[in-house]
Amino acid sequence: MKVIGKVVATEKNPTTIDDFYFWTDKKRQLKPFDVIVVKHIEKSETYGVIEEISHITDAPSYLAGFISSDFGDVEHQPLTERIGMNYVKCRVVGNTKNIYTPVLDSSDVLLADEDQIKEALGLAEVKNPLPAGYIEMYEGENKKTIPVHFNSHFLIGPEGAHLNISGISGLASKTSYAMFLMKAIQDKYLKEESEESVAFVMLNVKGRDLLAVDELNSDKKEVENEIFPVYDLLGLEKKPFENVKYFYPYSKEIAPTTYAQVSDVKSQISRGNAFQYKYVFEDDRDSIDLLFSNVDDPNETMESIVNYISTGQGKFGNITSWEELKKALYEQTQTGNKDNSGKEITVLSWRKFYRLFNKSYEKNKSLFANRCCDQHEVRLKDQIQNIEKNDVFVIDIAKLDEETQGFVFGDVMRSIYDLKLGTTERTEKEIPSKIVIFIDELNKYASNEIPKNSPILKQLLDITERGRSLGIILFGAEQFISDIHKRVKGNCSTLAYGRTNVIEISKSDFQFVPHVYKSMLTRLKQGEYILQNPIFRSLINIKFPKPIYKQYKNG
């Protein structure tokens, strides 16, 4: 490949084991994340990743520039341009012979070919390859597009698990990237006949984002020109998701509890791949705690009440419906209550509990039902207990209020946990070995400000800390990773940073990110991520295609 410059080691900026500088022509186009090769001792080659590019001239001060324009004449064009060059800071990512000696002054610096780039970034000979997107190196005639693969064992276990995607909404396209990865995973397991299997549970939290993931993107131009070429490059099936089942919150008229078009839901139901979910008191009484996950409960009174109800103490022993529960709770709030049951908990606490419960209950009365009657009316827990390999469950919670969203999410996690811990009659072989849960707006459930005793947070911590071995994988997304509980993000083996803002990059989460990458984070385009994964030797600036499935323009 072409020699583009030479290494310079100076007194102030020596070459080290970690980094080095080289000079190059001032018009050469390079960019952060580009890989370059340096000829080194013992006929070895050292690989570097560009971190910073600076342009200097021999002008010792700005004044020299001003004077050189005839003392401030902006029209003036000198016959000779001031001598200048670019110098580039690179971080060492490896050496072909594992030589640690810093690269030497005046060593040739070359552009890398495809194999060298892969070798440098740790993308060569990846075991259990799983498409992660593609990288673009260099500019102009030297431009290269290289597919990038994860080792699936480091994304969805058993070596490393969980993915966290952060970035500001709209510009970062977090959902699109998570969906792209899940599509790639489904593709891999549909094609391969291995002992491992996978299923997906996605929560639709925004509009109609995920309510047509089994339909092809309706923008034909985009599909033909932008999406399919990338799918070809990565060797992916040019199809949307398969085996998709949609779960909408139950309401008779459908519309009050979902943003989906009633007709769409009806047609999905008639095709047998959409259901409406309900919560039946008798089966779901244990999940009431999830309704109060964001309520500060320092004295654990709420917890005692939940416990009181779910164990059927006092009046709560004979209750069979949500309405009865409400009534019983109401009675507890009355001071003139002759019955002594529940007196160990103060009336004030009962009132608080009643108020909070009533708020969620009244808003979602149809969801909290007495029983499921039609075939398309289901309990989520039952469905999850029977999830099949390669199934994609899309659970719509977008139109529910925040508490109920948390309730459903918590219930889903609990159900998956129960399934994987063997509280079902299914044999282990039938159960998908990995279940990927995707939740956007993770900050609602796992932010630093969530009360410590929140049952949802506990569930999330359980999944991120123990889910890897159980085969429960969390794909979470949020705007600001700095908001997320450190034990949740700390356990994610893969972190994808999308476009973010300057306040966010000043937080400690970005301390290790080099200065230039930080400012790049504030300028990333839609469809671009900076990726961190144990198998990559460096952060990687990755691109991925727009969603292959149908998206509704108006949400």
Partner: protein, 399 residues
């Protein structure tokens, strides 16, 4: 341990070259303090430069014989966007070092060493500047007394050069001395030093090298009416006793498309009709004006070559340190009989002056104190040549 080892090697080196010279010339080295002569360039007025010579206003060096200064500022606009006249830039630099003192029969003489760098760069276009020719020579200057016999000293010093170059320590760094230049070690007149004599020898060698490179450029047919060469410094070469190009009359044809530009000059040389100093004309020269060109004939010993000499202001005096900062002295050799008789065409003088003015930017402000008188391509050439020098520390430790 490693650095300690290096030091020992350096000591051995030091002893070798100097001791070798002492042995070969049967003298005794003093191991005096070694140093580099100060090379920091400062803006100054060279008042002492040839005080007995003058340029008389009566002798015009151009066809239009007007005593008035000429305003070129309007013409600058007309030339905007046209190709520049100057394509090649030549500079010669030298750095001298006092290496040691050596004793011959109770007389003590200094040993001077020098690095000579002469180079020519080409401006291909506004953003491409590259080397055309470069010579980097290491030289030594010894007293002529070092050769005991006195017969055919050049043979002795040439063979001494060869022998020194065989020293393993020099070979190890792939270095060799190109010449030993003997300086006259006869009795000194008052105010003169042997050291200056040695330095002058090295200076002469540098000038010879400059002439050699101009000759090379000419033989490669690089210089023509559209591609002129700017040589840093004066073209008025002193007559020299030695050197391949000592006779200026023989090489004058090489200088058809060459102008010499001096940053420093003696303004007192310009005299009026009454033979009084006319330096204030230069000092008060307005921006983008030039003086008339004057004819200058240094005399027979210079090979009867005549020069047209004039001054141009390229920077406004309100921005400069001294009244003479921002003024350049331009020289051009007169080639034909007609030129020697009547001087250069006034249009040609204007054209050269305009092109010099167009070279005024960028400036080396902040990097060189002489920025107001420097032309950037010449400055770059100088920097390039100096970048080829061996570091002073390394050079001094060779001895």
């Amino acid at each position: 341990m490693y650095f300690w080892g290096m030091k020992i090697i350096n000591q051995q080196l030091m002893e070798k070259v100097l001791q070798f010279i002492a042995n070969e010339t049967k003298g005794e080295c003093y191991r005096s303090f070694k140093f580099c002569h100060d090379t920091l360039a400062m803006p100054s007025i060279a008042y002492e430069d040839k005080p007995n010579e003058k340029i008389n206003l009566k002798e015009y060096g151009e066809t239009e014989n007007s005593p008035l200064i000429r305003d070129l500022s309007k013409k600058i606009k007309q030339f905007e966007g046209t190709a520049p006249l100057f394509r090649y830039f030549l500079d010669g630099t030298r750095r001298t070092y006092k290496i040691d003192d050596i004793e011959y029969q109770k007389k003590v003489f200094p040993i001077i060493a020098g690095q000579i760098g002469v180079g020519c760069c080409e401006r291909v276009n506004s953003s491409t500047f590259r080397k055309v020719e470069l010579e980097h020579n290491l030289v030594l200057s010894l007293p002529s007394y070092a050769y005991a016999d006195g017969h055919k000293p050049e043979l002795f010093f040439n063979s001494l050069t060869d022998k020194i170059n065989q020293i393993s320590s020099l070979k190890r760094y792939n270095l060799n001395f190109s010449k030993i230049l003997p300086y006259d070690s006869s009795k000194l007149p008052i105010g003169e030093t042997y050291e200056n004599k040695g330095i002058a020898k090295i200076q002469d060698e540098m000038i010879d090298c400059e002439k050699r490179i101009v000759a090379k450029l000419t033989s490669r047919n690089l210089l023509n009416q559209d591609n002129y060469l700017i040589k840093d410094g004066s073209l008025q070469y002193k007559p020299m006793k030695t050197g391949d190009f000592r006779e200026i009359s023989k090489i004058r044809n090489n200088y058809r498309c060459v102008i010499g530009i001096s940053k420093q000059f003696n303004p007192e040389l310009l005299k009026d009709k009454n033979d009084k100093s006319n330096a204030s004309v230069i000092a008060h020269l307005p921006l983008f004006h030039r003086t008339p060109a004057f004819m200058y004939a240094p005399g027979e010993q210079f090979g009867d070559v005549k020069f047209a000499v004039w001054y141009v202001r390229i920077r406004d005096s309100k921005f400069t340190d001294t009244p003479f900062s921002g003024i350049l002295k331009i020289e051009k050799m007169l080639m034909t009989g007609n030129e020697s008789e009547n001087g250069l065409e006034t249009d040609e003088v204007d054209l050269i002056s305009l092109n010099v003015i167009r070279e005024r930017n960028p400036v080396c402000y902040g990097s060189d104190n002489r920025w107001a008188n420097h032309l950037y391509p010449v400055y770059l050439t100088e920097k390039f040549i100096k970048s080829q020098y061996i570091s002073d520390l390394h050079f001094l430790n060779l001895f």
